[in-house]
């Protein structure tokens, strides 16, 4: 079974857990899945195995802490320490997919606003002057910030696992993180000087470029799914025929 099939199976089986066990188990599930540098296949196989165990224990009237101990976070870390890391190629693909999706959404968002503004409300202009140097530096900085933002959010989620955090406090934390990142995104746009060769492009070209990029991302994603299906039952690093 590949990781996608395991995830589906997990979703179905999880419904059989009682409320208390489900809460603990889902915390552990999110915690393990957030460790995205670990092999996805291995992580999903383990999650499935732990779920099976918990379900059998539940039938005997045991709860999560009786099976996995009183410190689920420490237990989860112990497990994570033993899961093999994902391969460099897998990581590079993840990075590529993330970058493309980010640029696609930025382009679509900007292109849509500029196009609607000009062609419907008559504000702004039809052409935009692009400075190649500025554009490259700005894109690189934005991408860096985007990944940093993602990293912070994931670390926050991991930190907050297995804790009962006040909902209002949680909202405040996430608001703070978002406000700060948006601030940092805007800074280079204002302070970066124009440099490099410049050319003019119509504003709707951003929209088109964004959609094209989005289609590429979608294509890669589908391709990945299909190749996984083709290699099904070939198994993971752990498994052998």
């Amino acid at each position: 079974m590949n990781s996608q099939e395991l995830i589906k199976l997990n979703n179905k089986k999880r419904e059989k857990l009682n409320e208390e066990n489900l809460k603990y188990y889902e915390d552990m599930l999110v915690y393990l899945r957030l460790s995205f540098l670990k092999s996805e296949q291995e992580t999903e196989e383990l999650l499935n195995e732990l779920l099976d165990h918990l379900l059998e224990a539940q039938e005997e009237g045991k709860d999560f802490t009786e099976v996995f101990g009183d410190d689920p976070k420490q237990y989860a870390n112990e497990l994570l320490g033993e899961i093999p890391k994902s391969m460099t190629k897998e990581r590079f693909n993840l990075f590529l997919l993330g970058s493309f999706s980010f640029f696609a959404s930025v382009l679509i968002f900007n292109g849509l606003i500029d196009t609607v503004m000009y062609y419907i409300f008559g504000k702004g202009s039809a052409m935009d002057e692009v400075y190649l140097g500025t554009a490259i530096v700005q894109s690189s900085i934005s991408l860096l910030i985007a990944f940093f933002f993602l990293f912070i959010v994931m670390e926050y989620l991991k930190w907050s696992m297995f804790k009962n955090i006040n909902k209002y406090l949680e909202f405040f934390y996430l608001w703070l993180i978002s406000a700060l990142s948006i601030g940092v995104f805007v800074l280079p746009i204002y302070f970066l000087p124009d440099f490099g060769t410049s050319f003019e492009v119509p504003v709707y070209s951003y929209l088109i470029a964004g959609i094209l990029l989005g289609l590429i991302v979608y294509g890669i994603f589908k391709l990945k799914g299909n190749s996984k299906k083709a290699s099904r039952d070939q198994g993971s690093n752990f498994n052998r025929e």
Partner: protein
Amino acid sequence: MSMRSQLLKGVLEGCLLAVISNETVYGYELSKKLQDQGLEVSEGSIYPILLRLQKDDLIYGKMEKSPSGPNRKYYYITDKGQEALTEFVNNWEAIKTPVDQLMGRRKG
């Protein structure tokens, strides 16, 4: 009883290898087998060890249909695991009697 210490972990590793070399088991079954022998380990503590044994290529897991229907991961021992088990048994035999005697003398 916490099975955290290195000594107990090492012993538990040997026990898991012994069970798996005897018969093919899945996780839950394995923890039951240990408990049946009177080893009071927390059930969850076998999973980090199973992962390590797999990483070291001493055992391997295979998803198979179980008699009751759902797919389960069953564990098998490898040749390397068989060697490690033999080594563990030899070490254990060599250490068992002297340690028992020392502990006995302390008590007596």
